[in-house]
């Protein structure tokens, strides 16, 4: 490592930490330089959040040394680390929703006289800071809950800066942001870097890492396996370091002979969202669907599952005309849905793996309204094994599983139903690379068994890697259908943004 000339703000060396028999960190190193943005990547469980928690003083390491601003620190607490100028922006927003911007910026460091706080002074000062750091004209009397997620992130960063942060660690800061907000957040982070602040950026999104970071430290199995310059090492190379295998394996290819059309959509229309949508998905086929936010792609998927009621057009499954007015009917007609918001709609965290998997198909395991535990257990155990869901036992709560395994439980629910059509809405969001590969394998297997799969995704790499054909929606209409060599992320991006259309030509 070229430590010599660079200005090091934080240096963690030889950090190890065990939790009982589990080695969370094994001789891990992390070096954070001033005036630079460091990406920190790795699969879930690779140790990136543990090492960050060590730095934050939340977890005590078993061994290793930490040097902050040239001083070796023996033990850290969350309070002492903040005093040293190291601040953390956690993934879940930790702002009081009913506080004003001014109050949020100075939370814990209120300005005022004795026991009285001066809200006006805090608001004035906060507005000043927002203007100075970000050129942002945000009325500091605004309530936090009225801000966009991106603005809340900015307020959190401002809070750190108000306390003279020299190191800023952001954990998955873009997870809840839309594209435009991500861009403006990046703008802010670059400006901070140019002011000499050390920024650590943790993300699952490789394109963001590539775009933003000066250096990337990759973690795997509790240790750092390398630090690279993302402008020189392509994304594939970084992913290969994370999963310790070739990226070609990430999108496993398959040879499937397509069968008859299973899902037939004709002239579907929903006022204000989309119109004249028609396409087929054949047995064994994986069809991608993509479009920018507001393009109508999402609403098409919602109509197919009866979450919204289409105003016109027809949907057929295996030749039967469906009346899709509620999810109840969609499920009965053999349509399975993997919703984007897994925690709200996909799996019930407070129920067991068993209860989640059998939820949509209980009738199959029951007689005269009573559930037969033996046939349920048998089916659930089979699916846990089949999908290699990592769970201690079938009665463990889904809450205790990792994101990828939760997603597999959500898929298992529909396998248990023997659905014919699978509609997936961003199935790999917030899922680590290893679990993504397993989900892709699963989609391939489902397709291999003759299911029709419609994959709504905004991850263009994923669409190109997994789908046989990708449909692009632009302003409520099908703007193109891409397959074979014409199906590449440049073409998809161009069609989504309206720059180009109709690679294969759309039937309608």
């Amino acid at each position: 490592m070229q430590t010599a000339k660079r200005d090091i703000a934080v240096s963690m060396t030889g950090i190890s930490k065990r939790f009982g028999p589990v080695r969370a960190l094994e001789d891990a190193n992390l070096e954070i330089a001033r005036g630079s943005i460091l990406g920190l990547v790795g699969q879930n469980g690779a140790g990136k959040s543990t090492i960050i928690k060590v730095l934050a003083g939340i977890i005590k390491p078993d061994s290793g040394s930490i040097v902050i601003n040239g001083e070796t620190v023996a033990s850290l607490t969350p309070a002492s680390v903040e005093k040293l100028g190291v601040h953390f922006i956690h993934q879940d927003r930790l702002l009081v929703p009913t506080a004003t911007v001014g109050e949020a910026v100075f939370l814990g460091h209120e300005i005022g006289l004795g026991p009285f706080v001066s809200r006006r002074a805090m608001e004035r000062k906060a507005a000043e800071l927002l203007k100075r750091f970000f050129g942002m004209e945000l009325p500091a009397g605004t309530l936090v809950k009225d801000l966009t997620t991106a603005q809340q992130k900015v307020v959190q960063i401002t809070r750190a800066l108000a306390q003279k942060a020299s190191v800023l660690v952001l954990d998955e800061p873009t997870a809840a942001l839309v594209k435009r907000e991500v861009d403006s957040l990046f703008e802010v982070l670059r400006r901070l870097r140019d002011d000499g602040i050390a920024v650590v950026f943790i993300s699952h999104y490789m394109q963001e890492i590539e775009k933003l970071c000066d250096r990337v430290t990759v973690m795997r199995n509790g240790t750092d396996v390398g630090t690279v310059d993302p402008r020189q090492t392509p994304i594939d190379g970084i992913i290969a370091m994370m999963i310790a295998r070739d990226v070609g394996e990430m999108f496993p290819k398959r040879a499937v002979t397509l069968g008859a059309p299973v899902l037939e959509v004709g002239n579907l229309r929903l006022g204000g969202s989309f119109e004249n949508i028609g396409f087929n998905v054949r047995a064994g086929e994986i069809v991608g669907l993509t479009g920018l936010l507001g393009s109508g792609a999402k609403e098409i998927v919602q109509c197919l599952f009866g979450l919204k009621t289409a105003e016109g057009g027809q949907v057929k499954v295996e030749g039967r005309q469906l009346s899709l007015s509620t999810p109840v009917k969609a499920v009965r007609d053999g349509i399975a849905m993997l919703p984007e918001d897994r925690r709200a709609h996909g799996v019930a965290l407070g129920l067991s793996v068993r209860e989640n998997i059998s939820l949509a198909s209980l009738r199959r395991y029951s007689r005269t309204g009573m559930v037969s535990r033996s046939s349920e257990n048998q089916a659930v155990d089979g699916l846990i094994k089949e999908l290699s869901i990592k769970t201690p036992h079938r009665d463990a709560l889904v809450r205790e599983l990792s994101g990828g395994n939760q997603q597999k439980v959500a898929i298992a629910k529909w396998l248990s139903c023997q659905s014919r059509v699978y509609v997936l809405d961003e199935p790999t969001v917030a899922v680590d690379v290893g679990a993504k590969v397993e989900i892709y394998n699963l989609l391939n297997r489902l397709a291999g068994e003759g299911a029709a799969i419609l994959l709504l995704s905004s991850d263009l790499l994923e669409l190109v890697g997994v789908c046989d054909r990708v449909l692009v929606v632009y302003r409520g209409r099908l703007a193109g259908s891409f397959s074979g060599p014409s199906m590449n992320s440049d073409a998809l991006l161009a069609a989504s943004s309206g720059a180009r259309s109709n690679a294969d030509g759309v039937a309608a």
Binding site: A344, H345, L349, L359, L362
Partner: protein, 327 residues
């Protein structure tokens, strides 16, 4: 997060205490009253506790257990008790047979349940507010129907006497009302913990969005939940009238808070704080024994309420606090 072996032993002791805090409290209270009052453990007293303090409250609490499992609440159970009681007594007083009386009483409770179901599933009013509204309406209705709240007594009449007699008989040595409770408890247990319907109820309680996205007919199942709760409360209304041979307006409300308290005491048995039939029955027994014991040792009615309040705090705090420490 794992811990060393020594710690985990401590943790499991705490976990055990947290899990069984109700049972431990139960045992401690029984021992305390057994020492404090010579009459407490006599068969006559225990019979009295069971028949007069446990059965009717427990049946209402069974209904609330279903509703609370579904993620809702029913504040109008007292109204269901009263309506069933009122119609039952009115029909018997008018000379109708017992069968007609029971059918009428349950029918009245059914109407309350259906009203709740419509407000919640059709008009999308939250269960708390919908049933609160029904509570107000139900109370006024009773006062209007009884010229400001006059009780109706069943002085004579064949059917009334017959019912009162049944309430005092025993089947195989078990008092009839207790038999009714056992049958209903087993039925609700099977329904909630073994049936498809019960699974749907648990899913709606855990995460309503997931239930909807899994193709469950949420409005229909939720309607069933509220109707069942009202019907169970109606059974209590009929038992109440049969026991006291009268209908006293607004007497059903006494069950509401005790039943909610018992159900939540029962949730401490489950790691996920889910209501269960067994937990609820234990909660009811605990409340009934404390009330009876305090009475026997000479506390007056108002101090009994204080005692119960303190008990609920202690059991819940012990369970929550120890469980947090166990993590």
């Amino acid at each position: 997060m794992s811990v060393s072996a020594n710690d985990s032993a401590k943790v499991s002791v705490r976990g055990f205490l947290a899990k069984y805090s109700v049972l431990i409290a139960f045992a401690a209270i029984v021992i305390f009253f057994a020492i404090a009052s010579p009459t407490f453990l006599t068969p006559a007293n225990l019979f009295n506790v069971l028949v007069n303090n446990v059965v009717m409250l427990a049946i209402v609490a069974l209904g609330l257990t279903i509703v609370i499992s579904s993620g809702g609440i029913d504040l109008s159970v007292g109204v269901s008790v009263d309506m069933a009681s009122m119609i039952f007594v009115m029909l018997l007083a008018a000379g109708y047979s017992g069968v007609v009386g029971v059918a009428g009483g349950l029918g009245a409770a059914l109407i309350v349940g259906i009203l709740n179901a419509i407000l919640i599933t059709r008009l999308n009013i939250s269960p708390f507010l919908a049933t609160l509204g029904v509570l107000f309406i139900g109370q006024s209705t009773q006062q209007l129907a009884t010229s400001g709240g006059q009780p109706i007594y069943l002085t004579s009449g064949y059917a009334a006497d017959q019912f009162n007699a049944i309430a005092r008989t025993a089947l195989l040595g078990i008092p009839t009302p207790v038999v009714v409770l056992i049958v209903l408890a087993v039925a609700v247990h099977l329904l909630l913990h073994r049936s498809v319907f019960g699974r749907y109820v648990q899913a709606m309680g855990a995460q309503p969005g997931v239930a909807w996205y899994s193709g469950i007919r949420v409005p229909r199942e939720l309607s069933m939940v509220h109707v069942l709760c009202a019907l169970l409360a109606g059974v209590t209304g009929i038992l109440l009238s049969a026991t006291v041979k009268s209908y006293v307006p607004l007497s059903g409300n006494a069950f509401l808070l005790d039943a909610i308290g018992a159900t939540f005491i029962g949730t401490t048995l489950s790691h996920e704080r889910k209501p269960s039939v067994i937990g609820t029955l234990l909660g009811v027994l605990l409340l009934a024994i404390v009330k009876n014991g305090l009475l026997l040792v000479g506390w007056n009615f108002y101090w009994q309420q204080v005692g119960i309040g303190v008990l609920v705090f202690l059991v819940l705090a012990a369970s929550f606090g120890l469980r947090r420490a166990a993590h």
